[in-house]
């Protein structure tokens, strides 16, 4: 290498237009990349954007394919789903269901993970694999026997039936177990020598040390529960106890003269989207941590 350092530096700049050099030019050096990125984002966001646009349109405007601007209905559809079609009560039911599922699932999974990591008992690994095995049987697969069970218990059409099947979760147990295993043994032993009991250790040491993991799991669980459709549809028969995803279906039958009122449905869809979106935005930090993606 006979090049001096200055030459090398200049060469790098010219030869590699994609090199990541932050500057303040109006059109970034890598504009082609940016164009591609913007294009793909628009493509991915298009259903959402269209939903929002349609939620502001009247029925004729929706059926006019070429009309993709903000419609003339304004927020009227939103007001209507709330006032006439009981969206508020669906959303409230969904919120209750999601919160109950989240809290119960985290609590049960925490206890299971603590048992699996910090206690010695026979067949520990077998039990753990049995728990993992349940991953192969998600709720929809178990719907028929589950429904029979709920009917036998007399739980149908109640919150218990709505939330019960979601409380145990192999994923949450697995993630918490892995996290607990990364906690140094000496912390546990120190607590033992100091006479700190298991529940206090869980509450004052494990939970605070797993805060990120627990909030990440909570967000995932919350969104998962919020998006449930099939099971609520089957197990809840009263319309006023129904959750928002099923409530959306009721909106479908609203339209007049055989024309579905898409504006109304899209307004409902946008509203349904907001709570999970909010949860994602607020908890994005811990969520990334949960998946080991944070920097």
């Amino acid at each position: 290498m006979s090049l001096d350092t200055e030459d090398t530096a200049v060469g790098t700049r010219e030869d590699e237009p994609l090199s990541i050099i932050s500057d303040t030019r109006l059109v970034p050096a890598q504009w082609r990349v940016h164009l591609g990125l913007i294009g793909s984002i628009l493509l991915m966001a298009s259903p959402l954007l269209l939903a929002f646009v349609m939620s502001t349109q009247t029925v004729p405007e929706v059926y006019d394919i070429t009309n993709v601007g903000i419609g003339s209905d304004g927020l009227a559809n939103y007001v209507e789903v709330f006032t006439t079609y009981g969206m508020a009560s669906y959303m409230f039911n969904s919120l209750v269901m999601s919160i109950v599922v989240t809290v119960a699932k985290i609590a049960v999974s925490l206890l299971a993970a603590v048992a699996l990591v910090f206690y010695d008992f026979r067949f520990k690994n077998a039990i753990f694999f049995l728990i993992l095995f349940t991953l192969m049987f998600p709720v929809p697969v178990r719907i028929v026997p589950l429904y029979e069970m709920m009917a036998a218990l007399g739980w149908t059409n109640t919150l218990l039936a709505l939330t019960g099947p979601y409380v145990a979760s192999a994923t949450a147990v697995f993630l918490l177990r892995q996290h607990f295993m990364s906690i140094p043994d000496s912390l546990v032993e120190s607590a033992k020598v100091d006479g700190v009991g298991p529940l206090r250790f869980l509450w004052d040491v494990l939970i605070p040390m797993s805060r990120g993991m627990i909030s990440g799991l909570s967000v995932i669980t919350f969104i998962y529960a919020w998006n449930q459709y099939l099971w609520p549809l089957i197990v809840i028969s009263d319309q006023n106890k129904q959750v928002v995803q099923v409530g959306m279906k009721y909106l479908q039958s609203v339209g007049n003269a055989g024309q579905t009122d898409w504006g109304l449905i899209m307004a409902g869809a946008v509203l349904t989207l907001l709570p999970p979106l909010l949860a994602l935005i607020v908890f994005r930090g811990p969520l990334l941590e949960t998946f080991g993606l944070s920097e």
Binding site: E189, K192, V193, D194, V196
Partner: protein
């Protein structure tokens, strides 16, 4: 009496016997250091005392009470870990009080007083509201010790608490630990693999090897009258030179010889030695007890010289045996030289070839003291 006594303690993990029949007696208020090479079972012994492992055989008593099956929390011991084991999400103060607030015998005021007192002793008053991540290694270790202090336990158990610190800080903390113990007089068992730490800190030092206690003695005695060949080679830096030779008796004079080298034993030679005339023995002599002398009885060919500043450590071969000798600094010695050496006749040790047990120390005062100590601590090693 708040000492610790173990009786024939054995711990086996599957195929490994980590602790093999340990009878240890830590006296009330004593600072006993357990030292030995890596993997000899020191930590396991300590964990057996803390109750973190349960023994395969044998018993543990703390303060004259059999605690073999008692849970760790009820043994009234405090443990300091090599990794400090501080809770990362708690401040130093919370770390120190966490174990305390469980034991409900303390009111809030008492807890505060204790923390304040411990913080003052350890000089960490300004650090109490920081979390461990905002503390240096030495500061973390102080907090960890503080956590043990506030509990005011019967017994302190420490597993290599200083080994994560840099050399300078280690020396400083060592002095502070010694001072702390002088002040508190709490019975302490301290585990380390560093024999300098062991010698400087211990009221007595227990040397362990392969799961067995080799010798328990005050540091100087351990150095002057090692009970076994292992202790002789392990204690001291560098350890004692040992060489296999034969006892030769010519009239009154007794020598140990190997190849062309001869070391005379000082008179009078005790019966224990003369009775073995003609047998193989292991002769031990420390590097600092060898010195250059014209026409001395030992010839060493130098292979390595290590100037340590205050002395010149010289390694070489005597006959076919590698030996080390500590010479005055700036001695004119080069690799390849043949040095003529003599051994201090008052500083010779003989060990049994088979068992490694010492049967002769040429310094008579030391020899008798060693016998006393043995009598006091029996039963001890099973070498």
């Amino acid at each position: 009496m708040t000492g610790i006594t173990t009786t024939d303690l054995v711990k086996r993990f599957d195929d490994v016997t980590a602790v093999d029949g340990v009878d240890l007696n830590v006296r009330e208020g004593e600072f006993l250091v357990l030292v030995g090479p890596s993997g000899c079972g020191k930590s396991t012994t300590l964990r057996l005392l803390a109750g973190l492992e349960s023994p395969t055989e044998g018993a543990v008593a703390i303060a004259d009470e059999d605690v073999t099956t008692t849970s760790p929390g009820e043994r009234d011991v405090a443990m300091v870990f090599q990794s400090y084991a501080l809770y990362p999400h708690m401040t130093a103060r919370e770390n120190m009080t966490f174990g305390l607030t469980t034991a409900t015998q303390f009111t809030d005021d008492e807890v505060n007083d204790r923390v304040a007192e411990a913080a003052e002793i350890l000089d960490i008053e300004d650090l109490l509201d920081r979390t461990p991540s905002a503390l240096s290694g030495g500061e973390q270790q102080r907090v960890a010790i503080g956590r043990a202090l506030v509990r005011d336990p019967e017994v302190f158990l420490m597993d290599e608490p200083l080994s994560n610190l840099d050399a300078k800080l280690r020396v400083q903390m060592r002095a502070e630990l010694a001072e702390l113990h002088a002040q508190l007089q709490t019975t302490t068992l301290y585990v380390t693999h560093d024999q300098v730490e062991a010698m400087t800190l211990g009221d007595r030092v227990a040397v362990m090897n392969d799961g067995e206690i080799q010798q328990v003695a005050p540091p100087q005695l351990l150095y002057d009258a090692p009970a076994t060949r292992f202790v002789a080679e392990f204690i001291g830096s560098p350890g004692m030179n040992t060489v296999e030779g034969t006892i030769k008796r010519r009239g009154d004079a007794v020598h140990v010889t190997w190849e062309q080298n001869t070391v005379p034993l000082p008179r009078p030679v005790p019966e224990a030695v003369t009775s073995r005339a003609g047998e193989s023995v292991v002769l031990g002599v420390r590097p600092e007890d060898l010195s250059q002398e014209k026409r001395g009885p030992l010839n060493m060919e130098v292979t390595v010289t290590e100037p340590l500043g205050d002395s010149l450590l010289t390694r070489g071969v005597v006959g076919a045996t590698e030996m080390e000798v500590s010479l005055p600094p700036r001695s004119a010695v080069n690799v390849g030289d043949v040095l003529s050496l003599t051994a201090d006749p008052q500083r010779l040790h003989l060990f049994d070839v088979e068992t490694g047990a010492a049967f002769y120390h040429s310094a008579d005062d030391v020899a008798s003291e060693a016998t006393d100590q043995t009598a006091r601590d029996a039963p001890r090693s099973r070498t």
